[in-house]
């Protein structure tokens, strides 16, 4: 939507820049990645009061889009500079090292998941759920299941984002190289791959059947687009981003998405969406990053950039600092949040979850995420002050 507005928007612009000066941390990215992490955590818990405030209830896209886009942006920002200073090989090695860390984190989370469901399998035998307990069949053949998990083909619920992230990072070095040489060509190739994915239904197989929940062939578009923005794209788009027409279009589209989403929750208003429109928009695929979702994310991003300036005073406020800190240590906090979601769901079930307990557990989980982020920030500060070499290794922590 925003892209089609480009030509009209050229006429009315204010000369403003959005790209950060090199070397200065873009706090808005940290803030919104922190927000995305909180929302992903809440969405991974059983539905409760806080779920009403998550993005997916108000439009097509959700926190995953924010997370992947910002991850692409920061990866390009950090490793792009490394590629400039240290060359292709060293920067690539650092990217691959990062991918390896994510892989290890994923396997660690899988182990926790195995422990949880093995516990349930041996204790929960209610005949009402005889059919549902077939989900535990894979425990009968750990030889196959564990190997499939190591190959990232077997992924339990809520463990789909990290495998996507791993694949995106492994293929990032050549993408980054091309982005730095010919940014627009790289973005065009990314769009082409996205289109080919839709045309020919490319997908990665998963075990025991089906394909990856987040199709990397499609989702790479958001990651590469984020990287493209980081490497000057955002600066070049600043005229478009600050035009009133863009803002108007974005608001109109968000309202449209909001009203369509409303009909999902209140089916009696379904008649408000004409059948022809329904045929055209449905199904809105999350797996293949539907164009409607992508456009919804773009509209949100455009409004955010328009209304929240880089030097927004709130970015320095103590109130938003917990969210900011979470965003600055996103991998660690993301893994921790998946663990907390497991533990929280487990606690809600075992404590016989009243709405009140749900709420307390959600808030406590976010509190723990913030505490962990604060601890990581403190440790990083100490490590840097003491001039330890650990600091250079930890610099990957922003991607």
């Amino acid at each position: 939507m925003t892209v089609t507005a480009a030509d009209d928007a050229m006429a009315l612009q204010k000369p403003l820049t959005v790209a950060p000066p090199v070397g200065e941390r873009e706090l808005r990215l940290d803030l919104f990645r922190g927000l995305a992490l909180w929302l992903i955590f809440i969405d991974h818990l059983p539905a409760n009061v806080l779920t009403l405030f998550t993005l997916r209830n108000y439009g097509f896209s959700d926190a995953t889009e924010i997370f992947i886009f910002i991850s692409g942006y920061t990866a390009a920002f950090v490793y792009g500079r490394a590629m400039q200073d240290r060359g292709f090989v060293v920067a690539s090695a650092r990217v691959i090292k990062r991918a390896w860390q994510i892989y290890v984190a994923h396997i660690f989370l899988f182990t926790i998941y195995l422990a949880e469901i093995s516990w349930i399998a041996t204790r929960f035998q209610n005949p009402l759920y005889a059919e549902e307990m077939n989900i535990l069949d894979f425990l009968k053949s750990p030889d196959v299941t564990i190997v499939q998990a190591l190959l990232l083909r077997f992924r339990p619920t809520n463990m789909d984002v990290l495998p996507l992230y791993i694949v995106l990072m492994v293929f990032f070095p050549p993408v980054l190289w091309l982005l730095r040489k010919k940014a627009d060509l790289a973005l065009a190739l990314s769009v082409l791959l996205y289109a080919v994915t839709w045309e020919f239904e490319l997908a990665l197989p998963s075990y025991p059947s089906g394909s990856w929940f987040f199709n990397p062939y499609a989702w790479q578009l958001l990651f590469v687009f984020g990287a493209w923005c980081a490497l000057g794209g955002a600066k070049r788009m600043s005229r478009i981003l600050h035009s009133r027409i863009t803002v108007g279009l974005a608001i109109a589209y968000l309202l449209f998405a909001f009203s369509v989403t409303l009909t999902w929750h209140f089916p009696r208003y379904d008649f408000l969406v004409p059948a022809a429109v329904q045929r055209w928009i449905y199904p809105i695929s999350k797996t293949d990053l539907d164009v409607l979702r992508f456009a919804h994310f773009l509209a949100l991003a455009a409004l955010t950039v328009y209304f929240i300036p880089k030097d927004w005073p709130w970015l320095k406020s103590a109130w938003l600092r917990p969210m900011l800190l979470c965003g600055q240590h996103s991998l660690e906090i993301f893994c921790f949040s998946v663990f907390l979601a497991f533990a929280g769901s487990f606690a809600i079930t075992e404590l016989g979850g009243s709405a009140w307990i749900h709420f307390v557990i959600s808030v406590a989980g976010i509190g723990l995420m913030c505490a962990a982020a604060w601890l990581l920030a403190w440790y990083k500060g100490v490590a840097e002050k003491s001039g330890s070499r650990a600091a250079s290794g930890a610099s990957g922590g922003v991607s």
Partner: protein
């Protein structure tokens, strides 16, 4: 939102309490009767009308219902055939439609995905020739992690086949379980069943939300890990009753209100 739901349920429970004694006669003795009212919202069918059901009841005084489902449409107890929800649906429909010959038959397709059932559906329907087919689906697909888009197409195809065979259809979604929730990715399957129901103008029996409401309001403790069949039988009895109410409401049959309202 949840608070309002809870209040509605609580009100329903109070209203329904005296009716339990009357209802008990129609159920097997060993099943504990629960006052398991369902918030009207969850059984709302809007403009959708089950025309074939209405015609069969009014013109022929005869209603044949076919339940096509997977494992969760049955109970593995010795008396499973009489206490699972299809049998309870039959009992409650007979109660609601006193002068109509009601038969409910089941065709269980355990461990078969929506796609496999959708392919078999035309043959199943032409064999039974029901007025209404109730298709319970989604669980097997969620367990086998079938791609949600493929699942959606399969459900759509199945409903199209039922319509082509001149049969009314009702879709039924997954069971709610607080304990299995973390292991089974239910959301995409629930969303897609709802979407197909909306697009095809087919009533949805939202078993998931109904059971969730019962769990939250304390009607049933669904995280109970007892191996006994008592809970399962009560839940199926209540599902059968709610389903009968949905069918009667969706067929816009002008019959007496259920006893619970007296």
């Amino acid at each position: 939102m949840k608070g309002i739901l809870a209040a509605v349920v609580a009100a329903g429970l109070l209203a329904g309490a005296p009716a339990c004694a009357q209802d008990a006669s129609s159920a097997p003795a060993q099943v504990e009767q629960k006052s398991c009212e369902v918030p009207p919202d969850l059984l709302a069918t809007g403009d959708v009308t089950l025309e074939k059901v209405a015609a069969a009841v009014k013109d022929n005084k005869k209603l044949d219902v076919l339940v096509v489902g997977s494992g969760s449409s049955s109970l593995a107890s010795a008396d499973g055939a009489t206490v699972a929800y299809p049998a309870r649906l039959e009992a409650y429909l007979r109660e609601r439609l006193p002068n109509v010959t009601v038969t409910v038959t089941t065709n269980l397709q355990p461990k078969r995905t929506a796609e496999e059932v959708a392919e078999a559906l035309p043959a199943i329907v032409s064999e039974h020739k029901p007025d209404l087919v109730i298709w319970q689906t989604g669980t097997v697909d969620a367990i086998r992690a079938i791609h949600p888009d493929d699942f959606r197409n399969a459900v759509d195809e199945g409903i199209t086949a039922a319509k082509a065979a001149d049969v009314d259809a009702v879709l039924m979604n997954l069971q709610y379980s607080p304990r299995i929730e973390t292991m089974l990715p239910t959301t995409p399957y629930l969303d897609n069943i709802r979407a197909v129901a909306q697009q095809q103008d087919v009533p949805l029996f939202d078993r998931y939300s109904i059971m969730q409401t019962w769990n939250e309001s304390g009607v049933f403790d669904l995280s109970n890990s007892s191996r006994s069949f008592a809970l399962a039988k009560s839940v199926h009895d209540c599902l059968g009753r709610a389903l009968a109410n949905l069918v009667v409401a969706a067929a816009k049959l002008d019959v007496t209100e259920p006893k619970v309202q007296h």
